[in-house]
């Protein structure tokens, strides 16, 4: 007669062992995955799409201390030890910016008329390849994977400039009218006296960040056509 036996009747130690082994396996898997570039599909695709978008007109890539891409007067760049955004200062000044009240990581160059937002990298990338923008970003992401993100609501990848700003680009520019987005956190600007709703060329809006989370951001969007 066919009979099916209970897997573990009356043998609690076996259950404890099974649970422990299962949890240990999951922990090991999580640790392995944490260091595994192969499963970092966001990083992988961010690099791939970054190269494609930055090759489009009118983006101007340039290599100095590191890489810098400029579009409509706003530059995003990264060197071996930091990432930054370089923005025109005037719209912020006109909206009431008091440069002396800017937070750490934010700097106003009143003489040059620029506002710079920068953040240091946790792990320096070492020398970047002046001939390969995407390869340099790949190096940046490989060393500092947490710097890259995916913004599902807009179909964008992004690089975080510390806690202050995001530089985003479209996953598929042909299907997106916001090919590049510069996003600034409004709170530090507001504390520096900026009327975040009155910055010329920027929009203060609530953005769906995914997983049910929304965030108010000061946005500048660029359609590369």
């Amino acid at each position: 007669m066919r009979r099916e036996m209970d897997p573990t009747p009356g043998r609690p130690f076996r259950s404890v062992r099974t649970v422990s082994m299962s949890l240990a396996a999951v922990l090991v898997l999580a640790l392995v995955l944490a260091g595994c570039a192969g499963t970092d599909v966001v990083g992988r695709d961010a690099v791939r799409t970054f190269g494609a978008v930055m090759a489009m007109e009118p983006v101007e890539p340039d290599f100095g201390d590191g890489w810098q891409v400029t579009v409509e007067g706003v530059s995003f760049g990264f060197t071996s030890d930091r990432v930054f955004l370089d923005l025109p200062l005037a719209p912020f000044q006109e909206a009431g910016l008091d440069p002396g009240r800017l937070p750490e990581g934010c700097e106003a160059d009143t003489a040059g008329g620029r506002l710079r937002v920068a953040a240091s990298l946790d792990k320096p990338t070492g020398a970047l390849d002046p001939d390969d923008l995407a390869g340099s970003l790949s190096r940046l992401v490989g060393m500092n994977p947490d710097i890259v993100g995916y913004h599902a609501a807009l179909g964008h990848y992004n690089v975080a400039i510390g806690e202050l700003a995001l530089f985003e680009w479209a996953e598929d520019p042909s299907a997106n009218d916001k090919d590049v987005v510069i996003a600034l956190k409004p709170a530090p600007l507001a504390e520096a006296g900026v009327d975040v709703d009155g910055i010329a060329g920027f929009l203060h809006a609530e953005v769906d960040m995914g997983m049910g989370e929304t965030m108010k951001l000061v946005l500048m969007t660029v359609d590369l056509g």
């Binding site: 099974t18 649970v19 599902a152």
Partner: protein, 745 residues
């Protein structure tokens, strides 16, 4: 026709028991198959030999269920199996829960503002593939430990008799497959698919299902507490006197004829006849009667009753499975395993339930897709309908209440022979009592001593008892017993002579003492005029009065009657309060019967009924549209007990009466009749509550799961909540049935 009971394993819901019934019903020669989910027993009536039993077992296995071997049907083995099952379920639940909690946290934490607690390398927005893979890794062990659910569900599907496990298997598989496809999409770059992972749904459903099963198994174990209590009454050892030497042996090695010594405070190890010593015995656990019963040489003693007072020796007359306790346990178990007619409704519904639910789930999902919702929404609806519609509560609604109700009744000394008896009893509107031994003591007693003017009652009794000392007539025995109980010394007598239809005479202390009716007194030239009025009064009260004379002098009257039991009037009052008409059936004359009816407060008296006509009287009441319970104790009551809608044998009765009865009242108290009706009513009320809950739960739950509220801007039920509700429904039904253990009767 033969009836065979087979223990069936692997059943989880009403659909399973229905499938087994159908499979058994298809075996050639089977006339009736009844499967009880709660006791896991199939009772099959068939025309055939041992080969048919083999076919029956094969049919069960072919239907996808297990036939438990003979060694597993012994009580200890069954208990061990149930304990192992409970432990297994507990371990499966704990293991599942330990893995499901972090899984839920990983999947839902970021959605409820706890994303900051999720390790950065598993952040679903930044590392969606890592997140998905770890979710999968947490889900797989949960699927593995609960693989039996899948196996059972798939097996039932393959046998085209889908059950609750089929619904769970389909629902969780759908969520799992969809999540695996989403994981592949994430790998291929569709990172937003991280929002479309339902691994936690699969794992949570399984965890909650196994939790429900565990709680259900724990509760079901308590429904058979009554039998366990009864079994626990039997002492494990006995002191046997063999060759004059007392030795302690295992009680199950006792043999008929063994002499057994029992000391105060010990339980009597088996049934027998008391030989030496005297005691009082507490039989309350068997009969429900709270007062100890006095026992002396010649009295029967019942195994498992408690010796409260003296040391005595008895001879074992029944051992092992022949004892009263074993018979009670067998009767209770059979009753608990039987099916009440009310269960048929649940059986019929459950037969169609699962296929209909599968249809509703598919149609709902398709309708939402057509209405413009995405595949995620349709999948959620599909899984939720399958999960919430589990019919386990439906299958448990009746048998758990029957088990608990019959068990509770057994504890009170009320043995229902089956679920049908339990159900019909609650409908009884007329209770007909046999008189002798039921409402009355069944033994005549002296009720009145009326001495002639100037005489003494004690002298009257002493002379009458002395004269009757040699009599074997019940009336004479009653007079002698009364004298002995009053401590009156009997005088030497000789020349005893019984004159049928008139009385007796005997020479006591040199004078002739005569007892008898008026005709006998007149024949002897004795004037009874002075006490004629008193004799008439006693006769009107239903008593048999006898004149007593010494030589030609009238000494007085002795009245004898079968007196009413102390609890009879109260029993009748309680029945009347419950809206039940009460009647007494007796062969006694109208005047005697009416006297008793007045004393206890009966509504109807059926007097001068010959034993063979009792059944006809019951039939006549039934023809008036009454649902009749007959309460009797003797062989002559058997036809009436069988004819009545419910036959109740009282005071352990004769074997024939017990055989003919549907309910055995172990005690000798007519109040047990109202108690039996009360527990029947409570059980049926409980069954109706359970069925209402089980049906109502599905009637409400399925439309909500299908998204009817969502269609009117309301919420959509999640599969996880559906699984919780499903587990709760089964547990609530069993818990409600367990309330019967606490009812006062």
């Amino acid at each position: 026709m033969a009836t065979h009971t087979i223990r069936v394993g692997g059943m989880t819901c009403a659909s399973c028991s229905r499938a087994v019934e159908t499979a058994l019903g298809r075996v050639p020669g089977v006339s009736r198959a009844s499967v009880n989910l709660a006791t896991e027993k199939a009772s099959v009536t068939f025309n055939g030999g041992p080969e048919t039993v083999a076919h029956l077992k094969a049919a069960i296995v072919d239907a996808g269920y297990l036939v438990l071997e003979a060694d597993e049907t012994t009580r200890d083995a069954e208990q061990a199996r149930r304990d192992a099952e409970r432990k297994s379920l507990r371990h499966r639940f704990l293991l599942s829960a330990i893995l499901t909690v972090p899984l839920l946290f990983l999947a839902m934490g970021p959605m409820v503002g706890l994303g900051f607690l999720v390790p950065a390398s598993l952040n679903p927005m930044r590392y969606p593939l890592n997140n998905a893979l770890v979710q999968l890794a947490l889900t797989l062990p949960v699927l593995f430990v609960n693989r039996r659910l899948f196996a059972g569900g798939v097996r039932a599907l393959l046998h085209r008799s889908p059950n609750m496990e089929s619904l769970i298997a389909i629902g969780t598989s759908a969520a799992l497959v969809y999540s695996l496809l989403s994981t592949v999409s994430i790998f291929r770059g569709a990172f937003d698919r991280v929002d479309h992972l339902y691994f936690e749904t699969s794992a949570t459903i399984l965890t909650l299902v196994v939790l429900g099963r565990f709680l259900e198994a724990r509760s079901k174990g308590r429904t058979s507490e009554a039998v366990r209590k009864l079994m626990g009454l039997a002492p494990r050892t006995a002191r046997v006197l063999r060759d004059g030497i007392e030795q302690e042996i295992a009680a199950d090695r006792l043999q008929v004829g063994d002499l057994v010594r029992v000391r105060p405070g010990e339980r009597i190890p088996t049934d027998g006849i008391l030989l030496e010593g005297g005691t009082s015995v507490d039989e309350s656990m068997l009969t429900g009667e709270s007062l100890p019963v006095e026992k002396g040489p010649g009295d029967p003693v019942v195994g498992a009753s408690l010796n409260t007072f003296g040391t005595f020796v008895f001879r074992a007359t029944r051992v092992g499975s022949d004892t009263v306790l074993a018979q009670i346990i067998r009767m209770v178990e059979e009753a608990q395993g039987s099916k009440a007619p009310i269960a048929k409704l649940a059986d019929i519904v459950s037969g169609y339930f699962v296929p209909i639910v599968l249809g509703i789930a598919t149609l709902s999902a398709a309708a939402w897709l057509v209405a413009g919702q995405d595949l995620d929404f349709a999948l959620t609806v599909f899984v939720t309908v399958l999960v919430i519609a589990c019919p386990c509560a439906l299958g448990l609604a009746t048998p758990t209440a029957i088990m608990t109700g019959t068990g509770r009744a057994a504890e009170a000394g009320l043995l229902f022979k089956g679920g049908e008896a339990l159900e019909i009893t609650h409908r009884v509107d007329t209770v007909v009592f046999d008189k002798t031994g039921t409402l009355t003591q069944g033994k005549p007693r002296v009720t009145d001593l009326v001495s002639a003017p100037g005489g003494s009652a004690d002298i009257l009794l002493a002379l009458a008892a002395s004269a009757e000392h040699g009599s074997e007539h019940p009336l004479g025995e009653a007079i002698v017993r009364e004298a002995k109980e009053k401590g009156i010394d009997l005088l030497p007598a000789d020349g005893f002579r019984a004159l049928p239809g008139r009385g007796i005479e005997a020479r006591v202390d040199g004078t002739w003492i005569r007892l008898g009716n008026r005709a006998w007194m007149t024949e002897c030239g004795i004037d009874v005029d002075t006490l004629e009025g008193e004799a008439s009064r006693l006769s009107d009260a239903g008593r048999t009065s006898m004149y007593v004379a010494r030589d030609r002098d009238l000494l007085g009257l002795v009245a004898v009657a079968d007196v009413v039991k102390p609890g009879s009037a109260e029993a009748i009052r309680r029945l009347r309060e419950a809206g039940i008409r009460t009647a007494m059936i007796t062969g006694d004359n109208r005047r005697t019967a009416d006297a008793i009816a007045r004393e206890v407060g009966l509504d109807l008296v059926l007097a001068d009924v010959l034993p063979q006509d009792k059944a006809r009287e019951i039939r006549r009441l039934q023809a008036e549209g009454r649902r009749v319970a007959m309460v009797g104790d003797g062989i002559n009551d058997a036809p009436a007990l069988a004819q009545a809608d419910i036959g109740m044998a009282i005071g352990s009765g004769t074997d024939v009466a017990v055989e003919s009865a549907d309910v055995v009242l172990m005690g000798n108290d007519p109040g047990d009749v109202s108690r039996a009706i009360a527990i029947s009513r409570a059980t049926l009320r409980n069954i109706r509550q359970n069925l209402f809950w089980a049906f109502g739960y599905n009637l409400l739950g399925i439309p909500v799961a299908a998204g009817i509220l969502y269609a009117f801007d309301g919420p959509l039920l999640s599969p996880v909540l559906a699984a919780a509700a499903m587990a709760f429904s089964s547990v609530s039904v069993v818990t409600n049935a367990l309330r019967l253990n606490r009812i006062r009767i």
